[in-house]
């Protein structure tokens, strides 16, 4: 018989990373060419456009600035956090249930390829969901102040936002035991929007709620986007009348570190439990639920 020598294969991980990049691109293409997904991408920007239109004439309390102009960058920040956090957690829960993860596990270095693919996927689809925010942005375009520095800052906030939310979203997704629980996660995130100063200035809230909001990435990403897109004078409506860039980087950095520490541990723990029978069990459950 022929020799079968187990060799250390140096480029196997590299090949898996490249395959993962291809996976990400394939999935993004699938998403952006699917009518169902496109409706979903466009739905919220259109809702936001309507909301901003209704806000016409309202001003940020205590100032003469248009409220809508403050809300739009806040939505940009919120969308980054949503894309990273909820996107990562829910796809993970769904793809664990349907056996995608098990396939990755049965393939050499398949988990590396899977994760690289997901990062490409979340990054590009979140980016796309930001681009379509041009629709609501159009309604407040005269009140925004966009220049070269804004784009640079927005780019930095996007990267920081993804690093702060994708790992923690992955960690949360590893804890979910069924795709139905992603609804809870979505609900929790939506509740967090209220104290995060997205649709109304955080300074108008009671102090304790301000502290709740400031514990999570939604507030800080909104703040960062406001600092990039609004005239400097609007800093007056912020806590401490400052954009607090240092604090933003610190809090988002903490989330990133927590996520990067927890995600591999929880992901590995979850993946270890995956097997043909665990997927079959969930399939049974899913079928008997009649969904």
């Amino acid at each position: 018989m022929t020799e079968t020598v187990v060799r250390q294969v140096p480029d196997a991980r590299g090949a898996a990373v490249r395959a993962g990049l291809a996976r990400g691109m394939i999935e993004v293409r699938q998403s952006l060419t699917s009518p169902g997904d496109l409706i979903w991408y466009l739905f919220f920007p259109i809702v936001f456009a309507v909301v901003l239109t209704f806000m016409r004439g309202s001003t940020v309390p205590g100032t003469s600035f248009a409220l809508g102009a403050m809300v739009l960058p806040s939505i940009v920040g919120m969308s980054i956090a949503f894309g990273g956090l909820v996107g990562a957690a829910s796809t993970l829960a769904v793809e664990r249930e349907d056996g995608t993860l098990l396939r990755a596990k049965a393939t050499p270095n398949g988990m590396v390829g899977y994760l690289v693919g997901k990062i490409v996927n979340y990054t590009l689809t979140t980016l796309f969901s930001l681009v379509v925010l041009v629709i609501p942005a159009w309604t407040v375009r005269h009140d925004l102040q966009i220049d070269a520095a804004s784009w640079l800052t927005l780019g930095g906030i996007f990267v920081l936002g993804m690093v702060a939310t994708v790992p923690i979203g992955t960690a949360l997704g590893s804890l979910l035991t069924s795709s139905a629980q992603t609804g809870l996660l979505l609900l929790g995130s939506m509740l967090l929007i209220a104290p995060s100063g997205i649709f109304y200035p955080i300074t108008a809230l009671p102090t304790w709620l301000q502290w709740v909001g400031q514990a999570f990435p939604f507030y800080w990403l909104g703040l960062g986007a406001r600092s990039a897109m609004l005239p400097d004078a609007m800093v007056a409506a912020e806590i401490g009348e400052s954009w607090r860039t240092t604090e933003m980087v610190a809090v988002l950095g903490l989330w990133a570190v927590a996520g990067l520490v927890l995600a591999p541990i929880l992901l590995r723990r979850m993946a270890r439990r995956e097997s043909g029978s665990s997927v079959a069990e969930r399939r049974e459950k899913w079928l008997t639920r009649g969904m």
Binding site: V6, A12, A22, E95, E274, G276
Partner: protein, 324 residues
């Protein structure tokens, strides 16, 4: 592992000794032992809940065992690395995964992971067009996976399982939901894998006719241990599963069970004494189904199945069953 090993153990692909598995206080496997060699097609049979899936998942490295020694391709699956994984093929029952992917797209994607593990002796991965041809999905190559029928989807599962040209393939209930045609084609595929690719194949199935057709060896797992291990013929002899002789005499249909191996002498006696009245004579060898049923019945009634060597205790007394 280096290339200098040349002992007979070299050909042993699966070596399981006294494998035990306990969930909480429940013993699922109470001492499973068997081996499989290169090119073997082994069918693992057993009632639901006997521990087949647990056994396979331990061998696949997806489940940690409680005790016992397990070696798969020379490696303990509990410590199998990615290079080891590249030599295995696991055929999973797909459900909703990758539904948006196109058939060829997914096979090309998965194949990429195996390319670094290609060796001059074992080219990896499989050429996707050739693979599609083998599993009969050529015309569906550019279709989205969600648009495949159940049988097509299972053939894709097989293609995914073998895309890396594995030396060992695990097939858990591979033909559930196949129509007879797809099933026949699938059996040919298994023969091809075993004969031309020298792959070792471990298959679990509830279809005994299928096991009989594809497997060189049958393992029966019942009550947490292997209660039978051998070819279909060996098992029939071990269990003394009767062959069946059928004939018509005086307008009556006769069915007579005869111990395996004794059918020839029975027929000789029958024809020597019938005075030319016997017609429509048929001899049907012991089927795996009969053997399997006898085995399982024996285990369930609490008798040790291993002791069935003499070949007499399972045989009904000579009797003539007359059916109209």
């Amino acid at each position: 592992m280096d290339g200098s090993m040349s002992s007979p153990r070299r050909d042993v692909v699966i070596d399981v000794r006294d494998l035990r598995m306990r969930y909480g206080t429940k013993d699922v496997l109470t001492g499973v032992s068997f081996t499989a060699r290169r090119g073997d097609v082994v069918a693992l049979l057993g009632p639901n809940g006997a521990g087949k899936t647990t056994t396979i998942e331990i061998l696949e490295g997806f489940r940690m065992r409680s005790a016992g020694e397990v070696s798969v391709l020379g490696v303990d699956p509990a410590h199998g690395d990615e290079a080891w994984r590249a030599r295995l093929g696991v055929v999973l029952q797909s459900w909703r995964d990758h539904v948006r992917w196109r058939v060829r797209e997914l096979l090309v994607y998965l194949g990429r992971f195996y390319a670094p593990y290609s060796t001059p002796e074992q080219r990896r991965p499989w050429d996707v067009d050739e693979l599609l041809e083998i599993v009969g999905l050529t015309e569906h190559a550019d279709q989205r996976i969600k648009s495949l029928s159940g049988g097509q989807r299972r053939r894709l599962d097989v293609a995914i399982g073998i895309v890396g040209r594995p030396e060992l393939v695990f097939l858990d209930e591979p033909t559930a939901g196949f129509d007879p045609h797809a099933r026949r084609e699938f059996h040919e595929l298994i023969h091809r894998l075993a004969d031309f690719e020298s792959s070792t194949i471990l298959i679990t199935t509830h279809d005994l006719a299928e096991a009989e057709r594809v497997a060189d060896r049958i393992l029966v797992l019942a009550d947490g241990s292997i209660v039978a291990d051998g070819s279909v013929d060996e098992l029939a002899r071990q269990m003394a599963t009767p062959a069946e002789v059928r004939w018509t005499q005086d307008g009556q249909r006769h069915v007579h069970p005869v111990p395996s191996g004794d059918a020839t002498s029975f027929v000789r006696d029958l024809l020597a004494t019938d005075g030319g009245t016997v017609s429509e004579l048929q001899v049907k060898g012991a089927s795996l189904e009969d053997t399997y049923m006898a085995l399982v019945r024996r285990v369930e009634s609490g008798q040790p199945a291993h002791s069935s060597r003499t070949g007499q205790d399972g045989v009904p007394a000579t009797m003539q069953e007359v059916r109209s």
